[in-house]
């Protein structure tokens, strides 16, 4: 038996039939085109949106937590409730010693509304004090120069890492004023680095709009003694900070004479929980996109089946003629199926191309100088969509094709 699928004559016949029935071909093709495009756009869009949101976390250690203090809410050991208390350097050292599962324990100091000057230019913003370990928690983007190092801290160097935006304001026309001086609260510091941040998480103001000094330098300049504003921790891989949270609180409460039952005196803000939440949210969004996309695809396929059904109905007489002049049932089924497959393939490829263009535009519009969210599909992904569609389209065409095959030439010829 000759293999009809590989017969060039057959494909010519199919091409001619499709070309002669332009409206029908177009309408069927459009359904498939739209289905493929929708699925591809939704999948790509969900991924792009996730990338855009994940951009907010860029450079921030996800397995980290921050300790913040609030006034006590219970009286304890002779202290009134509503007492203000501060974390201090000893707390930090104790936590570091007591919990080896923490990779980093570091501090941050913040003063707001500090004035910065360079000659006639002035600006007002936050000053932070930080150690080199700060980078473990939240890696700033260093545009030029370097971040604070251990020597800066040990030697209490009068150096500063300056936010990009401050540089723009205070040193107009000089994109990289490294080594120049900047006045912070009237004290002169040498600029060692210019920094910014890509994520949207900030403790206080954004790095772009603040100045970071070595922790020791900060303590002296702002007369902070032993206290620290917040303690930041990064856990080792596989360790959940929420598991050791009660022990950390107990340690702090004992040291600062706070009732062990006080629920509001100390807040441990677990970033991993937030991160997990966003991750779950996007798992949901991806599932939703997949569900909607798949539904569209299914609707498209049912559409193909439906249109093929109508086509078979509409062509009953033609099929009868073909049968009368010698077409075998298999010739008819191959013809109807091949027409469907050819249409699906051509329209599907057009749909993928359209989706690629749309996603490309989306990607172009959301790209900023820092990062590019990935909206585009992988070639493999596009191929899977295509192949799925062709297979399902073939299956959908099978029912009408079988019906066409069963048409008796006599009945078909009388069908007018």
């Amino acid at each position: 038996m000759k293999l009809t699928i590989f017969n060039i004559e057959n494909w010519k016949e199919i091409g001619a039939t499709l070309a002669r029935n332009k409206t029908r071909t177009f309408l069927t093709g459009f359904g498939i085109f739209w289905g493929t495009a929708m699925l591809a756009i939704l999948l790509g869009g969900a991924r792009g949106a996730k990338d855009m949101l994940m951009r907010n976390f860029d450079g921030f250690a996800t397995n980290s937590a921050i300790i913040l203090t609030s006034p006590t809410s219970l009286p304890y050991k002779g202290h009134q409730k509503g007492r203000y208390w501060n974390l201090d350097v000893t707390d930090m050292e104790r936590i570091r010693d007591a919990f080896p599962s923490l990779k980093t324990v570091t501090e941050q100091y913040t003063s707001s509304g500090v004035s910065f000057r360079n000659g006639k230019y002035s600006y007002s913003g936050d000053v932070n004090g930080a150690s080199p370990e700060y980078c473990d928690v939240m890696a700033p983007t260093i545009y030029s120069g370097r971040f604070i190092n251990q020597a800066d801290v040990s030697l209490e160097r009068k150096v500063a890492v300056v936010g990009q935006k401050i540089v723009n304001e205070l040193y107009p026309g000089d994109p990289s004023p490294l080594g120049k001086d900047i006045l912070v609260n009237g004290i002169s510091y040498s600029i060692i680095g210019i920094a910014g941040q890509t994520n949207e998480i900030s403790l206080g103001s954004r790095i772009d709009e603040s100045i970071i000094l070595p922790s020791s330098t900060y303590r002296r300049a702002f007369r902070r003694g032993n206290t620290v504003d917040i303690i930041m921790m990064v856990a080792k891989d596989g360790v959940k900070i929420s598991d050791i949270e009660p022990q950390i609180k107990r340690l702090l409460f004992v040291r600062h004479s706070i009732s062990p039952n006080d629920l509001s005196a100390c807040d441990i803000f677990d970033v991993s929980e937030q991160f997990e939440m966003v991750d779950n949210l996007f798992l949901g969004v991806s599932l939703l996109a997949f569900f909607i996309g798949f539904s569209t695809l299914l609707a498209g396929i049912i559409g193909i089946g439906n249109i093929m059904w109508v086509i078979v109905k509409e062509r009953t007489q033609e099929i009868g003629i073909r049968r009368a002049i010698g077409a075998k049932p298999s010739d008819i089924i191959v013809q109807i199926l091949s027409e469907g497959i050819m249409l699906t393939a051509v329209a599907g490829i057009a749909g993928i191309c359209f989706a690629t263009a749309v996603l490309g535009i989306a990607q172009y519009l959301t790209t900023n100088e820092i990062s590019t969210p990935r909206f585009q599909m992988h070639t493999g992904q596009a191929l899977i969509i295509m192949v799925t569609f062709i297979i399902l389209g073939t299956l959908a065409g099978l029912i009408p094709a079988t019906k066409a095959m069963k048409i008796k030439p006599v009945e078909a010829l009388n069908d007018k």
Partner: protein, 216 residues
């Protein structure tokens, strides 16, 4: 054809052919006449292997045609029978030459050869200048001649024509009948014409009358 019976099943089974005995020799031009409901269309369908019969025997060119598979029936129809219908039954989105060559497509003949043979056939019937016209652009007589060309292209054993002049005016009818006679006389093609028009029936060599499922 020996004692062919055909009953359509149903709530009231319809016995349409009641023992048909018929022999048509090679090269004959015969017509089958009968009123509507007489069973002539059923007879034609069985002759054309478009329908099965229940009992009896039908031999075409010595081959027993009985209980054939769909594939076998299609093959025999393609090779042994040429159909001409009252309503022409051309495929309306294919031009004359494509319509004529379609039976050869199902024989697996290549496009070039198909078109060559189809063109020859159209030339023979004086339609060479209409080869690339769609059926909608042809007159009734031209359409019927295209249909006859399609019936002839496979060199069939018989031509079966079902009311071939039913949709044509008297002048064109006459031309089409002349064509059938000429084809029969010159090429010796066995032709069976089903009609209810005595004017058509009288032009054939033999007139077979059928009434109420039996041959008179």
């Amino acid at each position: 054809m020996k004692d062919v019976n055909k009953t359509y099943p149903g709530a009231v089974p319809l016995h349409v052919l009641k023992g048909i005995n018929l022999e048509i020799a090679k090269g004959e031009l015969v017509s089958i006449m009968g009123a509507s409901g007489s069973g002539k269309s059923t007879l034609l369908n069985i002759l054309g292997i478009l329908d099965n019969y229940d009992t009896g025997e039908y031999r075409l060119d010595g081959t027993l045609i009985k209980n054939l598979s769909e594939n076998k029936a299609a093959e025999y129809r393609n090779k042994m029978i040429g159909f001409v219908f009252q309503s022409f039954n051309l495929i309306n989105y294919k031009n004359a030459i494509e319509n004529v060559s379609l039976p050869l497509f199902y024989q697996g003949v290549g496009r070039r050869k198909r078109n060559l043979l189809a063109m020859e056939q159209l030339e023979k019937l004086g339609l060479a200048d209409r080869a690339h016209h769609l059926p909608g652009e042809l007159s009734g007589g031209q359409k019927q001649r295209v249909a006859i060309a399609r019936a002839l292209i496979t060199n069939p054993s018989i031509i079966l024509a079902d009311e071939p002049t039913g949709a044509l005016d008297s002048k064109t009818s006459h031309e089409v009948m002349e064509l059938f006679k000429e084809l029969n006389r010159q090429d010796g093609i066995t032709t069976i014409i089903v009609t209810h028009d005595p004017g058509v029936g009288n032009q054939t060599d033999r007139l077979i009358r059928i009434s109420d499922g039996v041959i008179l």
